[in-house]
């Protein structure tokens, strides 16, 4: 993309923001359209749409600097393929849901895949951003270096902001070398045993990468130096899972695919984020968990109150689908007031809507 093309697109978007503000029309940022099943990503009919897909391309990739800078509308697949050529990856393995997921959408949603257990989250990897905010300012925060404490950490504020603060024009992400070896082990265990065992392992120097418990089976992925993976496999035991079966499983978990993520009509899917050692009870019609027990998925009848349940465990809940008056656990009043004022900084006119944060 030439500088002129970039300038033209930004001016066009600034104009659109200006007009929308004058006409009091909502604006929605649309990336790949891959998260359409998430109700808070629905685009109202009257909305002005900023479609980021024309705003694509890798601005800079420096394998020895461990950093890639990518325009918001770039498809995730494209970035991952580029990194793979140099044996690097985005270790937080963001969900794709459907083809076409964009990097802007990845950062705006802040969702990370199962490897977050061992390799961290998208938040951990963000180094810098360029933003077009609701005041039509083009702002740059952070940068391409690993350590940077000049100014407040706005880059990370934008992770998980769901397009409510502005358009992510570009994002700099820390990338990692793909560890040389991986192996997946399987165990027959109850959820309670599995979580207890995982937390014990996590306190030992083992190359744990990802874990899933579902339907009486615990799956553990090890990922690291060859020697470490071999030793750890012997140490934790269980049954070795063939490579292609393991790959298929982790892709499935990463992208929230059916049958595991299937939700029968009339039931509701909840994502609970709770302290990993909080007591495990298999609530709802179906229950499974990721990590050492911190991310729990519950398929429940419509009247089940996931917010109250998660609060009781010391965590919070996310109603993952369906019409609702609230999707995300409420924050205490003082914190909500600061959040509202932070929104005023970037989108005082509330052009971009509430995302999953507000009352539905």
């Amino acid at each position: 993309m030439t500088d002129e093309t970039q300038q033209r697109i930004i001016s066009e978007w600034q104009k659109r923001l200006h007009t929308a503000r004058e006409r009091r029309q909502p604006v929605r940022i649309r990336g790949g359209g891959s998260k359409t099943h998430l109700p808070w990503c629905r685009i109202p009919d009257e909305a002005v749409v900023i479609d980021t897909r024309a705003w694509r391309g890798v601005e800079r990739y420096e394998p020895t600097e461990l950093v890639v800078t990518v325009r918001g509308g770039t498809p995730l697949d494209e970035v991952e393929a580029l990194l793979a050529e140099r044996n690097q990856w985005l270790p937080f393995a963001p969900p794709r849901f459907r083809a076409g997921t964009t990097i802007g959408g990845v950062v705006a949603s802040g969702l990370s895949g199962p490897t977050r257990l061992g390799h961290g989250t998208v938040r951990d990897a963000v180094l810098g951003v360029r933003l077009l905010d609701g005041r039509r300012r083009v702002l740059r925060f952070g940068g391409e270096v690993m350590k940077n404490v000049a100014g407040y950490d706005v880059s990370r504020l934008l992770v998980g902001s769901w397009g409510t603060l502005g358009v992510l024009l570009s994002v700099s992400l820390k990338v990692s070398p793909v560890p040389p070896a991986s192996a997946t082990r399987r165990f027959a265990m109850t959820a309670v045993e599995a979580s207890r065992q995982l937390n014990r392992w996590a306190g030992q120097p083992l190359p744990l990468s990802a874990a899933l418990w579902a339907d009486g089976t615990l799956w553990v992925q090890l990922h690291g130096a060859r020697a470490a993976v071999e030793e750890a496999g012997v140490q934790i035991g269980g049954e070795r899972v063939a490579e292609d079966e393991a790959d298929a499983l982790w892709q499935h978990v990463r992208d929230h695919r059916e049958p595991l993520w299937a939700v029968p009509d009339g039931l509701v899917l909840w994502r609970l984020s709770v302290p990993p050692t909080a007591p495990i009870t298999e609530v709802g019609a179906r229950f499974w968990f990721e990590g050492t027990g911190g991310i729990r998925w519950v398929v429940a009848p419509p009247d089940w109150d996931g917010f109250a349940y998660a609060a009781q465990l010391g965590g919070w809940a996310w109603r993952w689908q369906g019409a609702a008056s609230r999707w995300m656990s409420a924050r205490p009043e003082t914190v909500a007031a600061i959040e509202a004022r932070v929104r005023d900084v970037f989108d005082p006119d509330r052009l971009f809507g509430d995302g999953p944060f507000g009352e539905g």
């Binding site: 420096e62 020895t64 600097e65 461990l66 961290g120 938040r123 951990d124 905010d133 300012r137 702002l139 740059r140 925060f141 940068g143 270096v145 690993m146 350590k147 940077n148 404490v149 000049a150 100014g151 407040y152 950490d153 990370r156 504020l157 992770v159 998980g160 990692s176 070398p177 937390n199 996590a202 306190g203 120097p205 083992l206 130096a225 060859r226 020697a227 470490a228 071999e230 030793e231 984020s273 709770v274 302290p275 990993p276 050692t277 990590g291 911190g294 991310i295 010391g314 919070w316 996310w318 205490p332 003082t334 914190v335 600061i338 959040e339 004022r341 932070v342 005023d344 900084v345 944060f357």
Partner: protein, 503 residues
Amino acid sequence: MEAVVDRARAWAQTERHFEVDAEQLRACLLAVLPADRVLCAPEELAPYECDGLSVFRAQPLAVVLPQSEDEVVAVLKVCHEMGVPVVPRGAGTGLSGGAMPHPQGVVLSLARLNRILAIDPVARTARVQPGVRNLAISEAVAPYGLYYAPDPSSQIACTIGGNVAENSGGVHCLKYGLTVHNVLAVRGFTASGEPVAFGSVAPDAPGYDLLALTIGSEGMLAVVTEITVRLLPKPVVAKCLLAAFDSVRAAGEAVAAVIAAGIIPAGLEMMDRGATVAVEDFIHAGYPTDAEALLLCEADGTEAEVAEEIARMKAVLEAHGATEIRVSRDEAERLRFWAGRKAAFPAAGRISADYYCMDGTIPRRAIGAMLEAIREMESRYGLRCLNVFHAGDGNLHPLILFDANVPGEWERAEAFGVEILERSVALGGTITGEHGVGVEKINQMCVQFTPEEREAFFQIKAAFDPDGVLNPGKAIPTLHRCAEYGKMRVSGGALPFPELPRF
């Protein structure tokens, strides 16, 4: 030193002026705190006049030493009602003047909130008060085979509250992350004394990531009174490899090559010859003093894993021109390798009356070029500079040697530092990797950020602290200040980059 004190006063006056009745303020503080926790006499205030950057000093109206959250709130409420600036302070080891007092304000020391409140070895977390020293956390959890990863060189003294405010790093942060990657949640109070809690011991938290904004906010958004940190299992073994090079450029290229080979060392540090010699005279770590540059490269993990990684690192370093390589044979030798690096600052203090530590970060590929540029600046400014680096993450710590008692030397040292910082920005880096902006680098913020970006920072500050009483005047320069700085730079004409490109 008198000139220096004047500068600090001038700093405060270019920012907003606060009208404060000192007597009334002290009376109100004494009404909410026992008398031994309110310091007012000049000799009591003296130790609090500066942080680790002692060239910037100011005397506050009072220093308070609360021992509980309730006392912190009481102080915040008094100051908020009277419109008095509050400057939080941990151990005062900061290197950018972040904890430098405000002349019309109160220093709020969190040092006496120093209890470890809970350790959960199963969940691998510790909940601590802000005045707990960084190293004390790792010591307390060692019996469980755990540790707290970020390890600033000041870790025996600096507090976890200060670490949160600066987003501090250490020699292991390339592999294990900075404070922001290792703190799960904080509790604290806004300037008006309202309780807030950000983050969660769950894998993530709802709403905007206000925890990320708070970490590295230099005590300007909230006073942090409780911190929950993530603990990691201690690696079974660690080994350190020491490699010598006959040019800084070759050493810089070797650093990039290690990363390109897909290795993430647990630590990757570099020292130039000046630093090596100073350290060797002091610590006798056994460093080769004829090498132009040394690399320290650490691997940790299981025995087999470490053996595998050390072999790979060794091969890369040899291929990139290392003239000598030593691998630590035992823990004692590994610690000796590190002892030199960790003593770099005091070693500088030993050979020079004063030293000025810079903190720019640049892309790793530019390390060699930067060191050569610094060498040229040494002769231009007529001052020596020792270079130690967190090379793995491109974070430079040039130590500029000067003598504050020699007229003009501090000014030259400062100009030297400014040139390094502005060169860092020009190379695609930043003016501060881990020490913060404070008062020290406030002018360089004008170079790194546009007026609109600085405006956004002020707006964020106001979202947390609408009255602007929490550590005012630090970190974010006003438009007015940047305009003045712009004028100074143009008329001074000494700077080699009149129109620095922004990265």
